[in-house]
Symmetry: D2
Subunit: 333 residues, 4 copies
C-alpha cells in the first residue's frame, strides 16, 4: 500500500502517521520527493482501513499495490479454478449453459422446461424458489416447495440445479441443491456470505447493481476465507443512466475478472437486458469474449400468446441460441 | 396502472393480454388511439409484475399511476409521522441531531463522546457495534459487547441510542436498543426488513448506494406492511461517476421524499462525503432544505494528531456545526 | 404523445391545458379513468416541449408514443442503410474494419501503419489530426498537416480515411476526407451537426459519454434533417461508477440501435476500455452481437518496448484479431 | 506525478520507460519497494499523457500529485477571485442572484420579468436567446433578436445580462452582453473555450452532465490559459440513475471547488431538478453550503394557469425565495 502525503504535511504530522502505521506491524518506507512524500507500507495491509487513511487531512491519496483479495487472486493461484458439480464442469475451458424459468410454478412446468432445455444443450437447470421482490405485495416464490420441485426436475433429467438463497435461516432447505445462488441485492450481505463459506456447495455469486468488480471479488473472498473455494462469479448488468435496457451489461468485466481471478465467470443476459430480443445477441457477445457460461431464462408456455417476446425465451429460441453459442465458442478457440 | 401497447399489436394479442389481466381481478379500460392503444388497469395493481408486463413484445411501456407503496404514502396519510423514542421526537418539525463515533471502541471512548455531543446539542447517540466491511479481513466491530457499551453511554447521558443490525439472528442483542439502523447494503435485504417489521422499534433505514427514491420507499413498505410504522428514512449519498467525494449526496431526495411520504427524513453527510471539510457544509445544506435530522460522526481523540481532518469531527467542530444548523433552521421557518 | 394527469388536477386546470395543446394544432383525446386522466395528443408532437409539460404541477408524467426521430427511424425506413465510401460499404451485412493510429505523427508512421492494417484486412484507415484533449497543455494534434498525411496514406494504400472534426471553421480542411468523425464530446454540439448535415460526406457520430441511445439518435436526426442521411453511429463506452475500465462499453446499444434505426452501428473497443488486453475480447463481442464494424487503434513501433501493452495493438495483434472477428461473423450468419 | 509499476515489470522495461520520460525533460526518481517500484516524475508533467502511461502493461497506476490546472488553482492564487461586471461583484463574499426566464420571448415579457426580479432582489438578469435543444424540430430561440431584447431589459432595469453562446461564429452578437454562458453540452467544446479565452468578458461555465469536478476545472483552464481569468463556475446537476429528478444536483461540488480553486461557484437549481417545488429547497441548500450565487428561472405569466408549478417560479415565489436565501446567508456568516 502506498500513501501519498500532501506537500504541506508537517514533519510532526508525518511522524505521528508513521508511528501509527508501525503500531500496526507495518514497515514504512519514506520517500521524500520535491513536491510530495510517498509512504510505502509493507506487511499485512489488508487490515489497514483505507477510508480512514484517505480521510486524513495530510493524505492526498492512498493506493493499494497488492489487491486486497488473496484467495480469489490469480497471482497466488495462476491456474483456472474448475468447479465441478453433478458431473458438470465450469471454468478452465468448460462451459456452463444454465437455463430454466424465472420462477418455479408447478411440477409440470419445471419438469417440462427442464426436459426441453436439456434436449437443447443446457447442462444446468435454473429456477427461482425464493424471489427477491421490490414490493412486499408481489409474489415471493414457492419457497421450500419450489426447491422440492426443482429436485424432481433434476431426477427427471439428471441436470444439476441452481437456485437462490435470500436468508441464511433457510439454509437447511438447500441441503440437496447443487449450486446456491446469491442474488445481486445480497452481494454485500456479509453475514450470509460467511455462512455460505462454511458449506461445501458451489456458490453462484451475482454482481450487485452498483458494485465494482473489486467489490465483487471481495465478496467472493468472504466466502473463500471461510473455507469454501467453489465460487462462480456472475455479471448481470449494472445500474447506469441509460433507460433503454433494464441494466447495462458490462461485458468487459468478464475479461477484467479473468485477469484478476482464477474463478469462473458466467453472464446472465436475461436479467441484464429485460427484453427477449436482446438476450441472444448478448449471449453471443458473452460467449465471444470468453465467458465460462451463460444463464438464460426459458419458459414453456406454448399456449400463452403473452409470453412470446417476454424476457424469457421459448425452448425453440433457446435451441437456436445454444447452437450459435457453440459455434462462436469454436470460432474463438 | 397504464399499459401502452405498440401500434402493431394484433387484436388477438390484445385480447389475450386483457383476459390475462382480468384474471388478476383487474378492470381493464381500453382506449384505442390513432397511434396507440392504452389500457387502464383498475383494482389492486400492486401485485402486477411490471417487469413482466414491460417485457412483452406488444407492450411499449407501463406506467404506475398510483404509487406502489401504500402505508408509506403521504396521499393516504397526509400528516407527518413523528417518531418518538426515549423522549426525543423526529419529524413534523422536530429535529434529530444524531452524533457519535463511527465504531464503539471502549467504554471510556463511547461515554466520553456521548457526554461531549450531548453538551453540544446532540439528542441521539450513534455508534457502530456490527460493522459491514468490504473486506473479510477488516475489523468487524465489537458486536454484542459494543451494544452493551452503548447502553452504558445512554445510562451516563440519557441519550437514546441508534446502532446497525446486519443479520436477523442477532436481533436479541438489540432488545434494549432505541433505534435499529439498517445500512445501505442491506436496504434490499427483504427478509431482514420483514423481521424488523414485526418488532416495535423505530427503524432508521438508509438508502442503498444505487437505489432509487422509490425503491427506498418500497423497502420502508416492507417494514410497515408487517405492522411497524416507525420508520426513519436516511439519505447518505449515491454512487455516481464523480470520484472527488466518496459518494454524491442527493439532497433533492429530501424534498422529493417529503412530497411522497409522511415519514421523517434524515441526512448523513459524514458517510456520503468521506471528508471532514465537507461534513459541515453538507449538514448546513441538509438543514436548509428541510431535513428532519442529521447524523454526524464525532470522535474524541484530542491527543491524536492523526484524527484531525478525518471524516469524523472533533467535539469542538461538532459544537460549532450544531450552532449553525440551529440558526439555519430558524432562518427557514 | 400521452400525458397522464394527477388525480387532483381540477377541471379548470385540465381545460386550460387542453386549450393550450390545441393551440399547437394538436388533437387531444381525453380518457377519464377512475384514478387518472390520460390525454392522448395526436398530430405533430415533435415540437411539444416535453420538459415543460412534465414540469407542470398537474402532470404526473408524459410519454412519447412515437419516437421523436423521424429520418433515423426504422419504422419509416425499414431497410438497412448502406453507407458507401471509397468503394467500401458499411451496414446491411457489410462490415467496416477501421484501423489506424490514435494520432497522425509523421508521414512514415501513418503510411507504415496504413500498409500494415490493410495487409491484415482493414478496409478503412483512421487517424487523429485534431485531438480533443482535456488539458489545454496537452498535444492537440498535427491539425491540417495531419489530414494531408492521411491523404498520402490513402494514396499509398487505397484505404478511405476517417478523421475527427472539432470545429466547423476547419471544415475546408476536410474537403478530401472520406468520412468525418464527430467525437463523443461534440455529440450535442448542435451547430456543428447542422453544418455537417449540409455536406455530402458520411459522418461517423460517436455516442457521448453520458448520452442515452435516444439522444444519439436525436443527434443523428440533426444531421439528417439538413439533408445528409449518410450517418454511421458509434458506441464507444459510457461513463459509470466502475473504474476498472476507462468507460463501460454498452454492447446492448448495438441491438437496441438496430431495432430503432436503419443506420449502421460500429463499435470502438479501444477508447471504451483503455487497455490493450480488453480490445480483442470486446471486438469479438461486438462482432458476435451484430455490429456493422469495429474501430481499432493500431500503432507501428516495433522498436518501442513501451508501446506493447498500451491501448493500441501491434499490427501482429491486429492481424490475429481480424481473423477471429471474421470467424465470429461467419458463426452468427 | 507518480507512476506505480507492476512487480513483474522487467528491468529493461523500466529502463525504457525511464529514458522515455527523461526525453520529455522530466526528472525521474526511482523508489524500489518490496512489492512495487514507484517512479516520481518532477518537472512540467502537464504535457504527459496520463492515459497513455496508464495503458502500458507494466504500469499499475498513475497519480497526479500536482493538479493539472494551474491558473484556476487555489494553491497558486490563494485569494478568492471576485468577478465584477456592470457594478455587480461575484465571489469573495459577494453573492450573485441571477434570475430571469428560460427563453426570451418578447420585449414585453423580458422587460416585465426583469423589473419583477430586480424588485425582488435579483442583481443579474438571465434569458436564453440561443437554445440548445435535443431535437432539431424544437424551438431554437430568438437568437440575435433575443440578445437585442435582453439589452433593452438591461436598459430598463440596470441589471447586467447573461446569455448562452453555442457557436463561436455568433460571437459578434455577444459584443454588448455582460456575461457569456457556456452550457453543459459545450463544456468540452475546447475550440469554443479557447476563443472565449481571447475575449475580455466574464464566462459562466456550466458543468457538463457527466463531467467530473476536475474536468470542469480543466475547461476553465482552457479559457484562462488564453488570457481571460474571469470565469464563474456553475453546478447544475449531473446524470445518475435516479429518475425522480431531471438530474442529481451535486452540492458537495460547491465546497470541493472552493477548496481547489479561487473562482466563484454558482448553482442552478432550476435546470438541475426540473420541478418548481424543488427549486426553493435546493436554492436554500446552495446558499447554506456557501455558493457564491444562484440562478433561478422566473416567468411572468400571471394569467397562465399552466405555468404555475412548472420549473419556473412566479415573481412572487422568487421574492419569497430571495428573502430566505438572504436570511440563510446571514445564518452561516
Amino acid at each position: 500500500m502506498i500513501a501519498i502525503l500532501k506537500h504541506d504535511a508537517t514533519p510532526s504530522q508525518v511522524e505521528h502517521l508513521v508511528s501509527w502505521l508501525k503500531n500496526m506491524n507495518l514497515d514504512v518506507h519514506i520517500s521524500q520527493g520535491a513536491e510530495v512524500t510517498v509512504l510505502g507500507l509493507v506487511g499485512d495491509t489488508s487490515r489497514v482501513d483505507m477510508d480512514l487513511l484517505k480521510s486524513l487531512d495530510m493524505v492526498d491519496s492512498v493506493k493499494r499495490v497488492s489487491e486486497p483479495f488473496k484467495q480469489a487472486n490469480r497471482k497466488f493461484h495462476p491456474l483456472d479454478t474448475v468447479v465441478e458439480v453433478g458431473g458438470v464442469k465450469i471454468g478452465g475451458g468448460h462451459f456452463a449453459m444454465i437455463a430454466g424459468p424465472c420462477s418455479v410454478e408447478s411440477e409440470d412446468q419445471i419438469i417440462e422446461v427442464a426436459q426441453a432445455v436439456k434436449a437443447s444443450g443446457a447442462n444446468i437447470l435454473r429456477g427461482g424458489a425464493f424471489k427477491p421482490r421490490t414490493s412486499p405485495y408481489a409474489f415471493q416464490g414457492m419457497k421450500g416447495e419450489g426447491i422440492q420441485l426443482l429436485m424432481k426436475a433434476r431426477e427427471a433429467t439428471g441436470l444439476p440445479i441452481v437456485t437462490e438463497i435470500m436468508n441464511i435461516s433457510t439454509l437447511d432447505l438447500f441441503a440437496d441443491v447443487d449450486i446456491i445462488q446469491v442474488g445481486a441485492r445480497n452481494m454485500q450481505n456479509f453475514d450470509l456470505l460467511k455462512e455460505l463459506g462454511k458449506t461445501n456447495k458451489p456458490i453462484l455469486l451475482k454482481r450487485g447493481l452498483a458494485n465494482t468488480i473489486q467489490e465483487l471479488l471481495m465478496s467472493a473472498e468472504y466466502i473463500m476465507s471461510e473455507g469454501n473455494d467453489r465460487v462462480i462469479l456472475c455479471e448481470r448488468g449494472i445500474r447506469t443512466f441509460e433507460t433503454a435496457t433494464r441494466n447495462t451489461l458490462d461485458l468487459s468485466a468478464v475479461t477484467v475478472l479473468h485477469n484478476l481471478t482464477h474463478l469462473p465467470v458466467v453472464v446472465d443476459p436475461s436479467h441484464a437486458t429485460g427484453k427477449a430480443n436482446l438476450v441472444a445477441p448478448m449471449a453471443y457477445a458473452a460467449a465471444a469474449c470468453g465467458a465460462d457460461g451463460i444463464m438464460i431464462e426459458v419458459h414453456n408456455n406454448p399456449s400463452c400468446a403473452l409470453c412470446d417476446g417476454a424476457q424469457s425465451l421459448t425452448p425453440v429460441q433457446f435451441d437456436a441460441l445454444n447452437k450459435k453459442v457453440q459455434k462462436i465458442r469454436e470460432a474463438i478457440l
